[in-house]
């Protein structure tokens, strides 16, 4: 159904960014309030679309009135409503907690920060909604530039991080362009659905493998930024709140784009996985899940959050490897859960730093009695990410395990169980350290209930925790109404296109 709402959702943050940047010279409060208002409108609008009109199917908008595959198509369905809503949600919460005063290290106008924030959010929304492969490249570069300049606002010590982020992000986008050049040269189209149709006709498997390698490389660059070693080194000087946006939202949007390319563009029936790739895929999943082991040995909360976040990506990649309808449903549910849980963990780590520091491992001992709110929040988001019922993370992993079991993929089922076991071990160890450390006397401790200055952070954490719980409670309805209809046609028992897109012959 052709409708203007998808383009409205995409344009909203960009138009807002322009106005906010124009207001940057004025009082900081104006630009901040406007930016927050725009993000809130985006969030409410996504929720409205999800609950109301969009539930009947998907909506399209053709830029300039040019129908696909010739023109650029913007598309939204129930799952994309959820993803867009989460991007706006985390972006709103993060900006709400950000300082809006110029500091000694960052003397720039805060309005510029707000404008760049909207630009970065808009780029991610654009990446989610567009069905044109070249427009995806433009949004990738726009995100890299907006985020790079944003990091650079942190002062002279952050310039090297900003250079590295912008440089390697652009190199990633160049690899994407290289994969796209191959696909375009062989098919003559840039529309994602039409690419699938053309590849289905040509069955050019060599082309699919080559493009697949380049596209994986391109989206791999942003994933590298989320690995704990790079994360800590790169962004030590940057705004900590930006890490939340980067670690939870950006990484998961990139993983979702990988899903789109693997299963909606390159995943044509009859394409069997060679042995070398199957081994490589399984090693990749194991590599990610090793991060759970590393989290066990880590003490600093921010780094623990980064390890758990990186480890959880392993579940998503296992879902890609299994590649069945149940596995992909679990994967998409897992992506939604990870956005909320990772954001929550990073918010808690920042909250902890603001209330007395957490770099010293000894600070864990008895924290459950000293600062019960903090400890409870950390445990809740940890449980969400690791997948303790009734939180959303459990059901995504359950779908994945069921898929591995039904396909007799015993190695992947074993890896899933091992990762889950490691996660639970980590939780058990943390509960022990927080509440029952050796030689700790509870009687000597006076609990400090956090309030006053950290009300914004604590409210945000409560809201995120409710979201995590809602994801678990409504997982069945989400899977039925939002996730399964968003799966590629081959996974919904629908007929695949037997002729070029829209029945039109493409040169």
């Amino acid at each position: 159904m052709i409708h203007p709402w998808p383009i409205f959702l995409m344009i909203l943050p960009f138009a807002g960014a322009l106005v906010v940047l124009l207001l940057a010279l004025g009082p900081a409060i104006f630009s901040r309030l406007l930016a927050l208002g725009i993000l809130l409108i985006g969030l409410l609008f996504s929720v409205f679309l999800y609950l109301g009109p969009i539930s009947s199917g998907e909506w399209n908008y053709n830029l300039g009135g040019w129908p696909p595959p010739w023109g650029i198509e913007i598309r939204i369905n129930t799952f994309l409503c959820l993803m867009a809503g989460l991007v706006f949600f985390i972006s709103f919460l993060t900006l709400l907690c950000a300082e809006n005063k110029p500091t000694k290290e960052s003397p720039s106008f805060p309005g510029i920060l707000d404008g760049l924030w909207l630009l970065a959010t808009g780029s991610l929304i654009g990446l989610l909604l567009t069905r044109d492969a070249f427009t995806i490249y433009l949004f990738l570069e726009l995100f890299v530039v907006a985020a790079g300049v944003f990091i650079g606002l942190g002062g002279s010590r952050a310039w090297l991080s900003a250079f590295r982020f912008t440089f390697w992000g652009s190199v990633g986008a160049s690899f994407y362009l290289l994969g796209l050049a191959y696909l375009y040269a062989a098919t003559g189209t840039l529309h994602l659905d039409d690419l699938l149709a053309q590849l289905l006709i040509s069955k050019n498997f060599n082309l699919i493998w080559t493009a697949g390698v380049f596209l994986t490389t391109s989206f791999g660059f942003p994933l590298i930024f989320s690995t704990p070693a790079v994360f800590a080194g790169f962004f030590a000087e940057s705004y900590p709140l930006f890490l939340i946006f980067l670690g939870s939202v950006m990484v998961r949007v990139m993983v979702f784009l990988l899903f789109v390319f693997y299963f909606s563009v390159l995943g044509i029936p009859g394409l069997s996985t060679p042995l070398w790739l199957a081994v490589l895929e399984q090693l990749t999943a194991v590599f990610f899940l090793v991060n759970f082991w590393k989290a066990l040995q880590e003490k600093e909360m921010g780094r623990v959050a980064a390890y758990l976040s990186a480890g959880s990506l392993g579940y998503v990649f296992i879902g890609f490897e299994l590649g069945t309808s149940a596995a992909l449903t679990g994967t998409l549910l897992e992506i939604l859960n990870q956005i909320l849980a990772v954001a929550g963990l990073f918010f808690v780590s920042i909250w902890m730093k603001k209330t007395g520091g957490m770099d010293d491992g000894r600070a864990w001992a008895g924290l459950g009695w000293k600062k019960p709110q903090l400890a409870a929040a950390f445990l809740l988001f940890g449980m969400g990410l690791i997948g303790v019922p009734p939180l959303g993370g459990f059901y995504g992993k359950l779908y994945l395990f069921q898929a591995a079991f039904h396909q007799h993929q015993w190695f992947l089922a074993g890896v899933l169980l091992a990762a889950y076991g490691l996660g639970l071990t980590y939780l058990g160890k943390t509960v022990g350290e927080l509440f029952f450390p050796p030689g700790f006397s509870r009687k000597k401790v006076r609990p400090i209930f956090l309030k006053d200055e950290s009300w914004k952070l604590s409210s945000v954490i409560v809201v995120l925790a409710l979201g995590l719980l809602a994801l678990g409670i409504f997982h069945r309805s989400l899977a039925k109404n939002a996730i399964v209809p968003a799966l590629p046609k081959a996974f919904q028992n629908l007929n695949l296109p037997a002729e070029p897109f829209s029945g039109q012959e493409v040169e």
């Binding site: 490249y137 433009l138 530039v145 790079g148 650079g152 002279s156 090297l160 652009s170 160049s174 290289l178």
Partner: protein, 122 residues
Amino acid sequence: VNAEGAGFIHYGLISLVILTGIYGLFSQNHLLKKLTAWGVFQTGIILLFISASEKTEAPRPLLTAGPSSGAVHFLNPLPLALAFGVLAVSIMVAVILVLYAWSLSRETGKWDEDSIHRKLSP
């Protein structure tokens, strides 16, 4: 050289440009040399796009006074437009990266990434 050989040389040269760029990305430590390597890599990709518009003995896609013989007989203009798009984006990114590199060099007196990192570390 026949058409197949010419195509082999053409795409071989483009591959060489791309590989030179990729090698430079990972081997260079000087910020401006890194940027140059990225430029070379990007140039190779743009050449690949332009090559996709190629048709045997087809004229450029420009309107002429003579009778039109249909779009199918002209070079494909879309890859050329995409190449311009890539060029514009690359210039925007390169300007920002050069500004960062220049600012870092002014701050530390170095162009080398490792030395800058050491100087900026507390």
